[in-house]
Amino acid sequence: MAVRRVKQKSDKPLTHNSGRNDFALLLQQPLLLLTIISIFVLLFIFVILPIFNVFKMGATNKDGAFSLQPFVDILSNPSYRQTFYNSMKLGLIVACVATALGYLFAFSITRTEMPGKRFFRTIATIPIISPPFILSLSIIFLFGRQGLITRGLLGIKNFDVYGLRSLVVVQAISFFPVAFLTLSGILESIDDSVEDAARSMGASRWHTFRTVTLPLSVPGIISAMLLVFIQSLEDFSNPAVIAGDFSTLSVEAYRIITGMYDLHAGSMMAIILLLPTVAAFLLQKYFLRKKSFVTVSGKPTQKRRKIHEKHIVVPLFLGCLLVSAIILLFYGTVLVGAFVKTWGINYTFTLSHFKFVYSMGWDAMKNSIILATWAAPIGGLLGMAIAFLTVRKRFLGRRVMEVASMLTFAIPGTVLGIGYVGTFNQKPLLLTGTAFILVAAFTFRNMPVAIESGSTTLLQIDKSIEEASTISGAGSGHTFRRITLPLLREAFFSGLVYAFVRAMTAVSAIIFLVSPRWPLATSKIFSLFEASKYSDAAAYVMIMIVVILVAIGIINGLVKFFLRPRAKAPRREEVERAILAQGGECP
């Protein structure tokens, strides 16, 4: 009987060398290796280098020598210090308000038997896909000098709509969906039986909420607040038009660069904006990682009755209804505003604004659609590829790829824009003024969402499905195309939609990059705003909404068409013919 005894051979030291093996195996798959290297090169050129250049420009003077003078200037300037405080204050207030709204929606939808869940879910996604400026526009329509509510209903003549209050309202509505999505994910993952256990021990609904549900959702609450905080700081379009005297970092950086032509001070401003957003981003990652997955079990638990007591559900329902009503009011106002002659004075129906938009702004709209159509598939595919590589493959620098590709989420568009201007305005990377630089900005700025949803989905898909493809003889590329991508179609779809919508609606990232050759829709809306042509802006925004909805429909159709599972098998005759052709006999 052959038996090997336990023997540790001391003359042959063992080392863990699978790292070397990984590399050796990578060399066997040139396509995979090439993909990894290309992604690294792209990330370096379009993410790392621009950010590095922002820092470089911020820390040099006009002669190119190292200098912290811009930094000192900004610190010693009380109005700049005020700008910093303003941004922080706005960010904190909006984070609290938006997260509270998000929690209201998330809790009501995931843990109660409230009616109208689909409706509320839809309401909570509208702000994500809506064009910029729209809420600012309607708050001016409603509360401005010619405001329907302030002037029309209340008869106030000199109500000042511009400032912190309006910003809070507009940003809270714009960004509460982010909090809602984060929180509903967390709340859904809390196992019902944990709450049942508390209830069975005699705890009331309120006591259960306070001692079980709320503490379990704390990581989600913090994470949601940080995400909203980042969004608020990054926001350019709303503060640019309704902040009034209330200066914020992203707008101030823009003003310094375009108004004072000081790229160095502007870059320093951008750095001051960048640091808190990156810090918040890292904190958010930390809190989500600490999130306990213990309550997430793969087993389908029995469907159980959720909170149904009237005295809880009714107030929650009314709360959600009120928020929804406000959101609908805001969007409805802009819709009406696009069709009336002069808001506040003459409310007769007209199509003149649409005619105006068509005559002066159609090129810009076409440009936006063309560029978004390029950026969406590139960003979507690149996102899925990066998710696939970082989740499933082992290679040197995997973590670096992960961090670098997600980094742009934490980088305000203004900062990225400044970085692109500083990086691509000279040889060998002379790209300013081209469509290419705009597509690149869209792609890399919007990719993190695709990566995130791709990674999350991949982590839920059994790894052995892809191994089964590999062992059947398929290489990495084939496995990705035929197995991984179809399985990721939901994530791919949302990545595509997000990339398209964000490319259509981007303001901050492109405000430095638009050129006369490639005017874009959002910059047109911005200029209409600055000329106080609000109804024209409203018409433009409405057209944009239609374009976006149509595009989502088309993307949905395409993804379904190409990636939908189809039950394919050859017909009986085909099989028989094939068997005969192979020299076999048919029964």
């Binding site: 863990h16 599972p565 098998a569 192979q582």
Partner: protein
């Protein structure tokens, strides 16, 4: 390795032989796998200098408790893990630098890993399409496997529209259609309920025998291993403990771990007193000496060493008179086909199984009995501490 391949494959029809046309042996030479610990502070040896050779057409099972390195070994053969040291040869070729998709092998996964977005037909044809074979060949070969696995009529369904047993057959069909050189099984039956598991086990074995593809099968279920294998490899803590046919392993375990892991075993400690012809002399605490006619290999045992007598519960009879080791019944459990007694003999508690209990006398808890050993069925093993999982 002294073991012969005992399986005499039942008649292989020519049309089935096509699936094993490329079948070849596997050899593991001094394979070691070291993982960094999850904390990154140290290393664990998952597989420790293993040598194993699987002959062409043979089904070898890697059996052991969880964490014994059996799955790691399988994944190294598949190419999803790389050995830290040692060589793997498939059909005599070193596959160190051959990625999994170029090894010409197949694997049946624990979770089946069927492609949920592809029809059954596409699942099965997948590997053939990857090879870019002519369409007619893909169709004909896929159809042959579908017939072999009795999956006719399921071609257009999706995996989630099949029962567990059917999914299992699709997984197997997908694995054999590419005519692999080696077929790997990673606990393929553990997702099925007990009844179906037995049925699929027999089906799997008969298909493997008919096809004659070299197979390496990982399981932690010892009865599954016994039923399905030409040879069984017992592993523990990354080490290879014993290799042999199911019969050899059960009847001639070479250590207490193996004896205890495969089936149940009783151990009575004693001291080895040498040989008398073929028989071993073992002395026990009370001074009694036993002559064990068929003691087994007794590797490493020398005069005076502590040892133990190992025997199966079914090789003990109970009686209330005559010769035997005196003891008291601690517990009697009725299973229908057998009664299991726990008998306290002072130094240890023996497990005794009496089959067909209708024909024999029943004992109650507390009864004084004599345990009568069939000495032909007793093996002598080196004494070792045994941790029971």
């Amino acid at each position: 390795m002294s073991t012969q391949v005992q399986s005499t494959p039942t008649q292989k029809a020519d049309d089935l032989r096509q699936f094993s046309g490329k079948s070849s042996g596997v050899e593991l030479r001094d394979i070691t796998k070291i993982f960094p610990t999850p904390e990154g502070t140290g290393e664990t040896v998952a597989v420790n200098h293993i040598n194993l050779s699987v002959a062409d057409g043979e089904l070898v099972t890697l059996l052991g408790p969880s964490g014994c390195g059996k799955t790691t070994t399988l994944r190294m053969i598949s190419g999803f893990e790389y050995p830290s040291a040692g060589q793997i040869l498939i059909g005599g070729r070193d596959v160190a630098n051959v990625p999994p998709n170029k090894r010409g092998i197949s694997m049946v996964f624990q979770s089946y890993a069927l492609f949920p977005h592809l029809s059954i037909w596409e699942n099965i044809a997948y590997g053939l399409k990857v090879q870019r074979l002519p369409k007619d060949e893909v169709i004909a070969r896929t159809d042959a496997v579908i017939k072999l696995m009795q999956l006719e009529g399921m071609e257009r369904r999706f995996p989630n529209q099949l029962s567990g047993g059917q999914q299992q057959r699709v997984a197997l069909a997908r694995a054999v259609v590419i005519e692999p050189s080696v077929l790997l099984f990673d606990e393929p039956l553990s997702n099925l309920d007990a009844k179906l598991r037995e049925h699929m086990r027999d089906e799997l074995r008969s298909i493997q025998k008919r096809l004659g593809i070299t197979s390496v099968y990982v399981t932690h279920d010892q009865s599954e291993a016994m039923a399905i294998s030409d040879r069984v490899v017992i592993m523990k803590d990354g080490n290879l403990m014993q290799v042999g046919t199911p019969q050899e392993i059960y009847e001639y375990p070479n250590c207490k771990f193996v004896a205890n892991f495969i089936g149940k075993a009783n151990f009575i400690s004693g001291r080895f007193q040498g040989l008398e012809g073929e028989s071993a002399i073992v002395k026990f605490g009370d001074g009694m000496r036993y002559l064990i006619p068929n003691p087994g290999a007794m590797e490493g045992l020398r005069f005076g060493n502590p040892c133990c007598m190992a025997f199966r519960p079914e090789s003990v009879k109970l009686s209330d008179q005559g010769e035997g080791i005196p003891g008291v019944v601690k517990r009697a459990t009725y299973f229908g086909s057998k009664i299991e007694y726990e008998v306290d003999i002072g130094s240890t508690v023996l497990t005794v199984e009496i089959y067909n209990p209708q024909l024999s006398r029943r004992y109650q808890e507390g009864d004084a009995v004599k345990a009568v050993l069939d000495l032909d069925c007793v093996r002598v093993l080196p004494e070792e501490a045994l941790t029971i999982e």
